[in-house]
């Protein structure tokens, strides 16, 4: 006999586990946004591509998501470099701050990219959702069950975020990236190559997106479809704003919050309504956060 309390507790646990994966994809967006000050509207589409990457690696070679993730990460690095030089380099080169024109141009261009990728994917993959049949079992901890797959991807997600933190704080390149994100002119004065730094940050960001997309497949047994980016992009935006653009650990906090909202809210609503309501709430959380944010965001 299952009582309401343990259902909510279970949802809470799911929320935390899924939230970790949300965090790693949002963290990718955060990296690009925080360093280049450019928002990649197409971020969700790279997550989608990562998920499909994992799907095909599973279908063709039998790789499970844990194996596909690093492969996707590598592809993401390449995609990030291409994306940087295709979209950002021209706008950012030689500039010390991001102008309104650059902001607008990159917003619109990446929006175009997003819908281009979605429509291309729909043509190639078809709209029918697919999934990866991987089930390494379930572990019980008291009243809650912990799917092993979810545990593993959550752990990997947190590890990636932690590794990035270490990279940013303990390595030369990482410090260069942080310097660049604070003051481009000053960074150049100490010999940092802005193009290289920005490209690396972008590569890492999209790499995290694709890796996260692969990890997310554990939560989407039937939900990998070309439109999924349009669900995850806003989730990423909300997480980044919640945690603070540029603050790396903020992504983890934001991810956990959204993971919990998306998983726990349906428990309090009717089944047919729950999922949509949860999404709507998760998206709209953005607004009050922005309203009470520091003066940098609000005029």
């Amino acid at each position: 006999m299952v009582d309401a309390g343990s259902v909510v507790l279970q949802d809470l646990v799911y929320g935390i586990l899924e939230g970790c994966v949300f965090a790693v994809v949002a963290h990718g967006l955060n990296l690009i946004w925080g360093v280049t000050k450019v928002v990649n509207v197409a971020h969700g589409e790279f997550i989608m591509l990562g998920a499909y990457g994992a799907y095909f690696l599973s279908a063709w070679f039998g790789f499970n998501p844990l194996l596909s993730a690093p492969i996707d990460a590598l592809i993401g690095l390449g995609a990030g470099v291409l994306f940087y030089f295709g979209f950002l380099h021209r706008e950012l080169r030689g500039k010390e701050t991001v102008t309104l024109q650059t902001e607008m141009v990159t917003l619109v261009a990446t929006f175009g990219l997003a819908l281009f990728i979605v429509n291309l994917a729909t043509s190639i993959f078809s709209v029918n959702p697919v999934g990866i049949p991987w089930n390494p079992g379930v572990v019980r901890a008291g009243p809650v069950s912990l799917p092993v797959g979810s545990l593993e991807v959550a752990a990997i997600s947190v590890a990636v975020i932690a590794a990035t933190h270490v990279f940013l704080t303990r390595t030369y390149l990482g410090s260069a990236i942080r310097a660049y994100s604070q003051d481009i002119a000053a960074a150049q004065l100490v010999g940092i190559n802005p193009t290289f730094v920005a490209a690396v940050a972008t590569a890492l960001g999209l790499s995290a997106a694709m890796l996260g997309g692969a990890l997310l497949t554990v939560w989407l047994p039937t939900g990998i479809n070309p439109l999924m980016g349009q669900t995850f992009a806003p989730i990423c935006f909300v997480i980044v704003v919640l945690g603070g653009p540029g603050k790396m650990w903020g992504s983890l906090v934001g991810g956990l919050v959204l993971g919990v909202i998306i998983n726990v809210v349906p428990a309090f609503a009717e089944p047919s309504v729950g999922a949509s309501l949860a999404l709507a709430i998760a998206f709209l959380v953005l607004i009050p956060v922005l309203l009470f944010a520091p003066e940098g965001i609000v005029r």
């Binding site: 706008e91 261009a109 175009g112 819908l115 998206f283 005029r299």
Partner: protein
């Protein structure tokens, strides 16, 4: 008390040019075969949407990714009005415009406070949330949408045409007044440097809200006509972000913030799209191609056709706005 000085504004050549095109269209419409009328009607729907987004994104630089939400609101206003209250279609269109206006007021009061990037994201998020909410709202038939009674609607091609013609004409006039005179200066200052504009006494909050509300009005009314002419409102259609993509594509190709840019952009983009639809193998890729167009124009010629021409041929500035 001194009376405010009133003088008839002298309109620009561009305005007269647009007016001429519209008048000609209105005159020849009754003589056109139904299919052509249908084509023109769709073209004008997209034109109205282009003018709508131009009013906010083109004029102020605030990128409204979720602009389709106003179209959806207008469409549902007509659909719900027709099914629940037997509202005649024209009243439905008016209601659609009102719905767009009120929704824009509600959203704008909150989101226009945010700086560009955050406004854009809020706009995107709002549209996606709206879709989710509509999908589970029983009064609006949840995800099934609301069909119109095909027999009652008939096929009033001329009514459709003249209704959207009226909306486009109104949009052209409103755009003219928003880009000229005192309001025009205020908005240009806001787009140029909003903080500096405020430091000179410009009530940026109010001006932005006004143009946003007007843009919601036109998107809502167009959405209503769209639903009327497609016999029903379906959430995944009428809240589809692809419409937002189209809107941005049209003004970025034509020229953001200009008077004739939306028209020009609408013609180019819609006709290309319509043509691509007639070639069977291109169907799925038509939208992808529009995405590519948006990318290329945004990165390479962000001022669009009209903007670039005005920049390179200063002599044209008086006649091409």
């Amino acid at each position: 008390m001194r009376l405010p000085r009133f003088s008839l504004p002298q309109f620009s050549p561009t305005f007269y040019g647009l007016g001429l095109v519209l008048v000609v269209l209105a005159i020849i419409a009754p003589a056109l075969p139904i299919l052509s009328l249908r084509f023109l009607t769709n073209l004008l729907i997209y034109t109205a949407l282009a003018y709508s987004i131009n009013l906010i994104t083109g004029l102020t630089g605030y990128v409204s990714f979720g602009h389709v939400v106003f179209m959806g609101a207008g469409g549902y206003a007509l659909g719900y009005g027709a099914s629940a209250f037997n509202l005649p279609p024209l009243a439905g269109v008016a209601l659609g415009g009102a719905a767009g206006l009120v929704l824009a007021l509600g959203i704008g009061i909150v989101t226009l406070r945010f700086r560009g990037v955050y406004f854009a994201i809020s706009s995107l998020v709002t549209a996606l949330a709206a879709l989710q909410i509509v999908l589970v709202t029983p009064v609006l038939n949840d995800g099934r949408g609301i069909g119109l009674d095909v027999e009652k609607v008939g096929y009033p091609a001329r009514s459709w045409f003249y209704t959207i013609w009226l909306i486009v004409s109104a949009a052209v006039v409103v755009t003219y007044f928003a880009t000229h005179g005192r309001i025009g200066y205020g908005i240009r200052a806001i787009k140029s440097d909003e903080d500096a504009a405020r430091a000179l006494g410009i009530d940026a909050t109010r001006l932005k809200l006004y143009v946003f509300m007007l843009s919601g009005l036109f998107a809502g009314a167009s959405g209503a006509v769209f639903v009327w002419s497609t016999f029903g409102v379906y959430p995944t259609v009428v809240f589809d972000l692809t419409f937002s993509l189209f809107m941005l594509a049209m003004i970025i190709v034509g020229g953001m913030g200009t008077n004739v840019g939306p028209f020009l952009g609408a013609v180019i983009v819609y006709v290309s799209y319509w043509y691509a639809l007639t070639v069977p193998s291109l169907l799925g890729l038509a939208f992808a191609a529009i995405g590519v167009i948006v990318i290329l124009v945004a990165l390479l010629i962000p001022e669009g056709i009209v903007g670039t021409m005005r920049r390179h041929f200063p002599g044209l500035r008086r006649i091409l706005e």
